[in-house]
C-alpha cells in the first residue's frame, strides 16, 4: 500500500504538488517511486526555468526505466533539490519529503485540474 498525503494535489502521471501560498513543491509520488524501483538519476531543470502544466520538466531514471517528469502546474523554478544529485535514492526513501523542484505557481487555478488525495487513491486502484 503506497503512502498518499492528504492536502496535496496529484497528477495522472504520478507527480504531486504541495502548495504553500503561491509556492509549489513538486515531486513524484510514493506509488511512482515504488513502481520505478531504485532511482539512480534525477534530471532537473535550472533555477529561473519556466515549467508548463502537463509538459516535461525533467526525467527520473531507475534501474527499471527512464520516465519523463511532467509538471502538474505552470510557473518559474525557484529552487531545485540539489541533494538528489549526489543521492538520487532519497526519492525512494521518502518521495514526499524529497521534492524535486520548488516552483512559483503562475496560475493557482490550474490546481483544479489535478486530483485530490482521495481521487488519486482511487486512480491507482488502492
Amino acid at each position: 500500500m503506497s503512502k498518499i498525503l492528504e492536502g496535496l494535489y496529484y497528477s495522472e502521471s504520478h507527480e504531486y504538488v504541495k502548495v504553500e501560498g503561491n509556492i509549489g513543491f513538486i515531486g513524484i509520488t510514493d506509488y511512482a517511486q515504488h513502481e520505478l524501483g531504485n532511482v539512480v538519476y534525477v534530471d532537473v531543470p535550472e533555477v529561473d526555468d519556466e515549467v508548463t502544466a502537463g509538459e516535461e520538466f525533467g526525467a527520473v531514471e531507475s534501474v527499471k526505466a527512464a520516465s519523463d517528469l511532467m509538471s502538474p502546474v505552470s510557473g518559474t523554478v525557484i529552487e531545485v533539490n540539489e541533494a538528489l544529485e549526489d543521492e538520487p535514492g532519497l526519492v525512494n526513501k521518502d518521495a514526499f519529503e524529497n521534492w524535486i523542484i520548488k516552483v512559483e505557481i503562475s496560475d493557482l487555478g490550474e490546481l483544479d485540474n489535478l486530483m485530490t488525495a482521495e481521487a488519486y487513491k482511487a486512480f491507482i486502484g488502492e
Binding site: V40, V63, A65
Partner: protein, 492 residues
Amino acid sequence: MNNVYYGKLIFELSKEGRCGYSLPKNELGQYKLEDMPAHLMRDEAPALPQVDELTVVRHYTNMSNNNFGVDTGFYPLGSCTMKYNPKINEEMCNHHAFTGLHPLQDPSTVQGALEVYSNLQYSLAEISGLSEFTLNPFAGAHGELTGLMVMKSYHLSRGDEKRTKVIIPDSAHGTNPASAAVCGFNVVVVKSRPDGTVDVEDLRPLLDDTIAGMMMTNPNTLGIFEHNIAEIAQLVHEAGGLMYYDGANLNPMLGMCRPGDLGFDIMHINLHKTFSTPHGGGGPGSGPVGVREGLEQFLPNPRVVADEETMSFKVVSNDESLGSVSGFLGNFGVIMRAYAYILTLGKENLRMVGPLATLNANYIKECLKDCYELPIEGVCKHEFVFDGLKDKSTEVTTLDVAKRLLDYGYHAPTIYFPLLFHQALMIEPTENESKETLDGFIEVMRTIAREASETPELVKTAPHNTPVRRLDDTLAALHPVVTYTELVADNQ
C-alpha cells in the same frame, strides 16, 4: 551451465618474457630505431600481455563459457526474436569468394557480391510488399532513423515544412520515440485500448497538417495484431502523413501478410531478428529500409542497381537522396547470411515461420496462464505478455522470477516492457524450438510459480546456481567501474 566463474583479465596472466610465437631468423639486418623520426616514436613500449598460446586458448575458451546464447539454451527474449543462426549461413558468408573482397574494389570486380546485395533487396521487397530497399543501415534503430529521414526528405521535397510531429503508440518500442527525436521530430503519443491495440478515437484528434507520419509495429509489442490498421493508415494518409512500420515484429507475418499491403509507406527490417543472422553482443546487425514506389529517390547513397541490358550491377548515387548513412554498403557479412537463410528456406518454408512461431507462443501462454497473470486474453501472434505472477499475496516480482529462471539454465524473458503493465514478462519462443524444449520451459515456470508461493525467499534471493549471484544494479548504475585501473583500485 558452467558453475565456476572465470573472471581473469588477459593482463593478469601476463608474465615478463613469455611469448607464444617464434619469428624466423632475421636475414635483413637490424633496423636502427634511432633512424626513426622522433615524433613517430612512442615514449614507452606498448603494454601488451605476454602469454603463451595455451594460456591464450584457455583464457578465451573460459571467457566463452561465461556466455549464454541461442547455441547454449532456450532464449525466449520477447521482442528480440532470438532465433537460431543456421551454420550454413556462416559457411556461405565465409566463402573465400566473399571474404577477400575490399569495399574500394571497382564494381566490375565484385559483381557476385553486388548480385547478392541486389537479390536480397529484391527478396525483402517481395516479402514486405514495398518497392525498393537499401541494405546500408547497420542496425534496427539505425534503420528507424534512416526511414524517418526518408519521411522528412519526402515532406521537405514538397516544400511542406510544417510537419514536425510523429505519432507513436504508448506501447511502442523505446527506439521509436528516440529515433524520432534524433531525427528532429516531436513525439505525440497515442493511447492504447484495454486490449493493447491503438485507440482510433484517441488518434483522430491528433491528426492535422503538422503530422509527418505515424510509427507502428504490427503485431504490436503485446503480440496483438492491430486489426484497425487499414483504417489507421487511411486516416494518417488523409492527413498527409506517412506510415512507418517498425519491423521488430515482422517474424509472424513472413509470407502471410505484407506491411506494404497494410498501407505502410516506409519500414525497416532487422535481419538479426527475422532473418536469422547473429543477434546480441553489440552486433554486427543490419537494418534494411524499404519504401513504397515514389519514395525510392530519397533512400541513402550509395545504391546497388541491376542493369538489365548489360546483365550487370552498378553502384550509383543520386542528388535527391537523404545522403549517406554508412560507409560503403552496410554490413555485407550479415547481408550474405540473411540471403543464405531466405534461399535455404525458400518461399514455401518461409511461409511456415509465422504460423509455427505463433503456435509456440500460444502453446506456452495457454499452459501457463493459470499461474501467471494474462492481461490480454485471446490468440496472440509470435509473443505475449504476462503481468507477473497470478498469486499477488507474496512480494515476489517479475524480476525475481527472471532471476530464478537463470538457476534452471534459461535465459530470462524481456521484463518490465512494455510499460503498459507494471510486472510485464514478455515471452517469445520463436519457431525454432521443439515441443520438448517448450514443455521443459513450461515445467520450470510452473515450478517457479509454486516456489514463489511456498518458499518466496528462495525466489527473491535467486539466482543461486549461477557463477555470479544477484548483482547490485543500483550500485552499478551509480558507481560504474568500467576500466581495469578502476577495478584494481577498487580491489585494493
